[in-house]
Assembly symmetry: C2
Homo-oligomer: 173 residues x 2
């Protein structure tokens, strides 16, 4: 599908509301962190979204748009939320995420990006040269990737309860 900013924003705009609808009426048994960086629960994923809003997508877009001397992005800490979310409730995290995302979409829209700007380059510290359009498309897919991770974490709780049906449920594999 051709990249169009407004269509990318359609996905970016729904994510906090979707994740809130998915999680906010669930008991903590479904969502609470286990503190295990190798096995994220829903709580951990929401903290990760927040850290991305603060340090990843818009800051990296700014580096690209500025086209300054150093085009290399600051490495992103993928497990920062295990410290940063401590003591917070899931409801607080969901609100923070929604507010940060709202502001970031506002910022993104305010840039009125041209086709030329979407082709400007930056340097990913591990992957090398990337452009702004790829960064924005990745933001979109990253949102979806972590909705997927949330539903996988929820499904895992019932991995034994389903009995022989496990064979049919690809999410449990």
């Amino acid at each position: 599908m051709k990249f169009e900013l407004e269509k990318a924003i359609e996905i970016l705009a729904q994510t906090p509301a979707t994740v809130t609808t998915l999680l906010s009426s669930l008991s903590e048994d479904w969502t609470k962190t286990g503190g295990d960086q190798a096995r994220w629960e829903a709580f951990d994923v929401v903290g990760h979204y927040i850290h991305g809003e603060e340090t990843d997508w818009i800051p990296r877009a700014r580096i690209i748009l500025a086209q300054g001397e150093n085009l290399t992005f600051v490495p992103f800490d993928r497990v920062a939320q295990f410290e940063r979310s401590k003591g917070k409730t899931l409801a607080e995290l969901l609100e923070t995420f929604a507010e940060l995302r709202r502001k970031n979409i506002e910022t993104l829209r305010s840039w009125n990006l041209t086709e030329e700007q979407l082709k400007l380059k930056g340097i990913h510290p591990e992957l090398g040269e990337v452009d702004l359009e790829q960064l924005l498309a990745t933001w979109v897919v990253h949102d979806l990737n972590h909705i997927r991770q949330i539903v996988e974490a929820l499904a895992r709780k019932y991995s034994e309860n389903v009995g022989v049906w496990k064979e049919y449920l690809s999410i449990l594999k």
Copy 2:
């Protein structure tokens, strides 16, 4: 996690609202069917949820609860939606799904199931003996499985747009 009916219902109750929040503000480019039974789009998944509400979960629970002569479930048609959703809009399907689910949860609650009833058996046409608790746990995981399928279908649209980031995005693999 131990199966508790009220916690299972927490997941069952949010699914139509979550899927509606996820999809209802998206352009058709993201969601429309391609008519391909091997590659479901969001539209196809919502039709599949509807068919499950009508012919799978509650009808099978009734067979188990009745404990009649024939405990074998009617086979479920997993691709019925490719015919049945024809000519409908996604918004119509989302409304139908929400309404059917609301009624089915009402039915489920009205049974006031006991621990003994949850252990009653039925016969799956392919998998063999299953019990009511497993059927209900499978309903829950099936919901999550298809939210996962929806976000995978959406992410696929940008599988090339993300450039070298593809390597980091497990949803694209």
